[in-house]
């Protein structure tokens, strides 16, 4: 029995990380309960090894497992985003779990499993793999969200996330069934061929719509966003920082791959839906964030809005030659958002007390005096999330708007600019509170957290000033893929 084009070599980083996760589960059994951070360090080294492994060979163009997986610049770059968020979140978790008295060794393998799911998601070239990967990244996340079991809000958010996630993935499965029924295939290439021959049937369109719902739920697009603030608020902050980047990026990876390759010729049908998601998410996300008093909920709505900006970048993907451009913009935006957002969540973790009382924006009063470095970094993150120069967030927004302009969506860019204007209001409030109000309260800044904040802040600034090399890498890796 032979399998055509298995290409285990190409998938080695993925297999390595999976094996590392399984191994860690075993090793963890022998690690005494008060030294669980050792598991964390081992998970960290697994992430780091895979990170460098992947980054050493970005430009591959291969397939594996009989065309079920693609190993190319797109997936590799997104792997770096997932692994990077994994690394940073693990670093934060080392102290966070102990501080909040929820330290258990299983945390780290679950995180590894989730990252494996994300990685598969970005490589998937078959709908069944997309579905499995989505579940692989979600199921550990459901558990991680409820990891602080002693806290009622953590449990509550896990239940909400789980029920709604299962609900939306049922829609997705049904969508896949319909697509299969319409095209007789689940592989992207075969679907693309079938669509090119037979065009759109109602069955196919219904399938596309339902499947999009499942993915849009993961990236929290309006109106599938309602779980986001509750889950972001209730989940342990390390998990929130991790999932707000990783799960979102994975969802977008699947959307890009599916819609740019399989349904490329149906752009006229799906592009309006994407535009709708973009407009609703940016407007509702940003406006709703204004009225929030909890920084976690504010960041949750901000993440909804950022999903909207990524949708703005996806819109041009239906326009033939622009799909490379759109994919690059998506990657760059996700990278920028990932760095900035994890940085912001690290600061949230530093200010958050174990009793969960430090999550109000008013708790940031006087942070500039208590911890100037933290406040300066947070200012940078807020500016980057707003999209002000000279931060990476600005370049990313510019990139995205540039892509939308190239496709002729000037009005969408105007909506984008106006919503950025609205968003300045609530991001600014955090800066105002930090620098211009006085207050006290303690800040917990272990070394790992300082490191995370420092790295993300430096990257946000440096890549805002000199994004050229990264852009070049992104563009050359993605060129010709879609």
């Amino acid at each position: 029995m032979t399998i055509s084009n298995l290409n285990l070599v190409g998938t080695l980083p993925l297999l390595f990380l999976s094996a590392w996760a399984c191994g860690l589960l075993l090793v963890d059994l022998w690690i005494p309960g008060d030294r669980k951070h050792m598991t964390g360090w081992m998970a960290l080294s697994g992430f780091a090894i895979t990170f460098f492994w992947v980054s050493s060979n970005l430009g591959q163009r291969e397939e594996a497992f009989g065309g079920m997986l693609a190993i190319d610049g797109f997936s590799n770059l997104l792997h770096l985003v997932f692994l990077g968020s994994g690394i940073l979140a693990t670093l934060l978790a080392l102290n966070y779990l102990k501080q909040h008295d929820i330290e258990r060794g299983e945390f780290y393998p679950l995180m590894l499993f989730s990252v494996v799911g994300m990685m598969i998601m970005s490589m998937a070239k078959d709908l069944i793999v997309v579905f499995l990967a989505l579940e692989m990244l979600s199921i550990p996340l459901y558990v991680l969200v409820g990891f602080a079991r002693t806290r009622a809000d953590s449990e509550e958010s896990a239940l909400k996330y789980f029920l709604l996630g299962a609900f939306s993935s049922a829609f997705q499965v049904y969508g896949i069934a319909l697509i299969y029924g319409a095209t007789q295939a689940t592989g992207f290439a075969a679907i693309g061929d079938a669509v090119a021959i037979s065009g759109a049937s109602p069955l196919l369109l219904a399938g596309i719509g339902l499947m999009l719902v499942g993915l849009a739920f993961k990236v929290s697009a309006v109106p599938l966003h309602m779980w986001t603030p509750d889950v972001y608020q209730g989940a342990p902050s390390v998990v929130t920082g991790f999932m707000s980047v990783g799960a979102k990026a994975a969802g977008f990876a699947a959307i890009v791959r599916i819609f740019f390759s399989a349904f490329h010729s149906l752009a006229a049908d799906w592009a309006p839906v994407i535009v709708l998601f973009a407009v609703l998410s940016t407007v509702i996300g940003n406006v709703a964030a204004i009225s929030q008093t909890s920084i976690k909920r504010m960041l949750a709505f901000s993440s909804i809005a950022h999903a909207g900006y990524v949708f703005v970048a996806i819109v041009p993907g239906g326009y033939g030659a622009l799909s490379d451009f759109a994919a690059s913009a998506v990657i760059f935006y996700l990278a920028a958002y990932g760095l900035t957002n994890i940085g912001a969540w690290s600061v949230v973790i530093a200010v958050d007390h174990a009793d969960g009382m430090g999550s109000d924006i008013s708790n940031y009063a006087g942070l500039a005096r208590r911890s100037p470095g933290l406040a300066a970094a947070m200012t940078l993150f807020m500016l980057s999330l707003t999209g002000l120069p000279p931060t990476m967030g600005f370049v990313a927004k510019f990139y995205v708007f540039r892509a939308a302009l190239a496709a002729g969506y000037t009005w969408l860019v105007v909506v984008g600019v106006v919503t950025v204007l609205i968003s300045a209001y609530y991001y600014l409030r955090v800066i105002v509170v930090m620098w211009m109000n006085s207050g006290d309260g303690q800040v917990v800044t272990p070394r790992a957290l300082n490191f995370t904040v420092g790295v993300t802040a430096a990257a946000t600034l440096v890549l805002g000033l000199l994004p050229g090399p990264l852009m070049a890498i992104v563009e050359s890796s993605v060129r010709g893929l879609f």
Binding site: E135, I139, V143, G146, L159, F162, L163, I176, A177, Q184
Partner: protein, 100 residues
């Protein structure tokens, strides 16, 4: 031979019943069962299409969906048990701390 369309219609009806179950029931376990019903109706569509095409891919799909459903059930029930421990209820309307 029954046309595939009949099966499709049946699966759509079962799916909709599942959806409405999620939307109107308050018992977390029943909500969860409704989701299982939705998955099940998707499976029915898969198998029906597979028969139409004369290939087995659809059946494989069902196999995977079932596996995922099993995993989801395990985690979901564990969660519900955990919630029940602290709330002594599985009424989803009682789980309402986070809002606004």
């Amino acid at each position: 031979m029954i046309p595939t369309t009949y099966y499709l219609a049946l699966s759509a009806i079962l799916f909709s019943i599942g959806v409405i179950g999620v939307l109107v029931r308050r018992n977390a376990i029943v909500i969860f069962m409704s989701i299982e019903l939705m998955l099940n109706s998707a499976n029915l569509a898969f198998v029906a299409f597979a028969r139409e095409f004369g290939t087995l891919d659809g059946q494989l799909m069902v196999f995977f969906v079932m596996t995922v459903a099993a995993a989801e059930v395990a985690v979901g029930l564990a969660l519900i048990v955990a919630i029940f421990r602290s709330k002594a209820s599985i009424d989803v309307d009682a789980v309402n701390l986070l809002k606004g």
